[in-house]
Symmetry: none
Subunit: 209 residues, 4 copies
DNA sequence: CATGAATGAGAGTTCATTCAT
DNA sequence: AATGAATGAACTCTCATTCAT
């Protein structure tokens, strides 16, 4: 079949197929066989490139976390004021999650089982993202433009809401005629980001500013 | 070895054991065997009481969703003003999630796979909770005490952040000395609720009201 | 198929089929599938009764070693003089090996890989047999009817030659017309035992007795 | 990474690595991959030099059997009396087995499965060795210096005991403090040979000669 | 000569589910 | 209501072997 004999390409194909499936069905819900079928390669090739299923999963998650982290970091550097950084954080994360809907799925499914399928050093990926947000909040507080807050909760509000917004897309379609515009089925990700940023901004501004 | 001969009790034992395991390891990560072992009953009994694994899972999720729904509803009725209802919603959901940490796990793991393991009529449970919040927001807007908002996003911010707060408990312990108080490892659920309510309130209040 | 629903019987069937195959093809040369087929049961039943292939193998070897040990012990007790015990040892071991040709095969194949497939406590089985012979030799020496010898070498000469005699049966048939009577294809096991005992006796008797 | 470009050397490296592994783990217990790794060459090269795994195995065994045969033959020719030839046979075989412990392992493992992994013409190797011993015995009998014996049993006693002595080396170390000197852990191979020769000699000498 | 990529078959093991008692 | 035995399908992973370069 797909005998391209190009290691990099094959490996990438595997990783991508795996990502799609893991995001759709979770770690345990995906068989190595099915990944091979989707990638249109021989099952044994997966073991040629990855020690085992767990290692492949790791690679998938690591890739995504690396990508989103560097994306946020890159955009963040263009900003001057903490409030701009916050906006950038929200917009960048939302855009990435929108374009790579596997990230929210994988993140939620992994967190729902307490990171059972990931080695400890994998949390570096998650921690780095939180660290970024935390430093934004810290700088904002120091400069007096943000109120004091609980960083982890701000993080969870942003990341949690975006993740849920993305992962529930299909589900929300089913109940469109019941809830209409209240479930934002037609909203573009930018509108969502805008609204979220607007909310977070109000949250962080001093009460009588 | 006739264990107890009390159908209700046996069924409850099964459901409870299943809940713990499903929450910890996800649907696919749990074997019927392991549920039987935890419940200390014969594996075949599970099939005596539940058609199959999926039906048992449904029962588990349905139970939890019913419980949280009626709990919120009950507390909600004690309130008069929309802002009190909102506070009640947040505090009740958070308290329940704190006492039944299986709920956040199951909810996230289910949403992360788009409800793959649940029959459609199961979303009734999820929808009802959102409906409650939506009506609170609507009433608040009508009475002029809330700004206009995107209900689904408010819902996701509240539910998403609480869920993540609960499910990441173990994980956050590992990084305590790195992030200190910023990750709220010692916070009681009431403090979290209070902070969350405070944030949401600011979000919903008119900018210069 | 063979749904006898009798645990003991099924387990025995498995053990016996496994013994035949392991003896014929060695541990690695036998598939669990093939054992199931021979036993005419479902492959999963093997895992119902035995944790895994290695444990099944252990059980097989342990059974055989136990049986031969107790057989030798029983016969040994009927003897009075060391020389009779020696005769009994040789005849009993040879008879058992002849009737259970799986023992020599398994013993040789296991010793050829240094007991790689067996847990340490399994050597108890081998040690006990050697211990028996050693005590016979010791008693003989003390009573002055045996010359001093190297127990382990006497053991290896007896056990080694009988084992090889049994395991090469098929092979020797192929070269019958080349070597004729020199390879003892028609010898009954009693003749072999007799000859072996005669040889060992001469070995152990004082030079000028 | 052209390794050496010397066909003979590469082939020898493969054969030697294969020998070590086959002796340690048996035919089925060794993967072609592992042989390649040990030989530090590409796996495909093995198939370049050897049709398949079985052929490589044959080559290994054939080499060993050839070597030992010609070694015994060479030493044998230096002797005049049958008793000296017998001594030479025992000492040479023992010395070779001691220096090439792969031979005893392979021989036992092969005999334990009835030569399943070897083609028929491979037994030539085994037969030749037995033929040598047989002719020594015959000559001894004719000259009246040996008693009549069963050649195959004498062969098995010699070869069997030496083989077991070599292959159980590691195992015997484990039980040293239980059996002490009785298991000859510190014996040099010459002592063993001497003792064995002494025993066989007594066996073969006429009862009152 | 030499290599890394590819393959198909099959191995050991687990699991949801059913059957007979 | 309860149990232990049984099953077939699926899963993860390995292996001998071949292909293309």
């Amino acid at each position: 079949m797909a005998k391209c004999r190009d290691a990099n390409k094959t490996k990438e194909t595997i990783t991508y197929s795996a990502m799609e499936l893991f995001a759709k069905d979770g770690y345990e819900g995906v068989s190595v066989e099915s990944i091979a079928k989707k990638a249109d390669i021989n099952k044994a090739m997966i073991y040629y490139y990855f020690k085992n299923k767990a290692v492949l999963y790791e690679a998938v998650v690591r890739n995504l976390l690396d990508d989103i982290y560097y994306e946020i970091l890159k955009e963040s550097k263009k900003c001057k004021k903490p409030i701009d950084e916050m906006k950038s954080f929200i917009f960048t994360y939302a855009k990435f999650a929108d374009e790579n809907p596997y990230l929210p799925s994988l993140m939620l499914s992994e967190l729902s089982v307490g990171g059972r399928n990931l080695p400890d050093d994998m949390f570096v990926g998650l921690k780095r993202i939180f660290s970024l947000l935390r430093s934004i909040l810290k700088r904002g507080e120091e400069k007096g433009c943000f109120e004091k807050s609980l960083p982890i909760m701000v993080h969870f509000m942003i990341v949690g809401s975006i993740n849920l917004f993305i992962t529930t897309r299909q589900l929300r379609l089913k109940v469109e005629n019941e809830f209409g515009k209240d479930i934002c089925n037609d909203c573009k990700i930018e509108e969502i980001s805008e609204h979220l940023f607007y909310s977070i901004k109000k949250m962080l501004k001093g009460e009588d500013t």
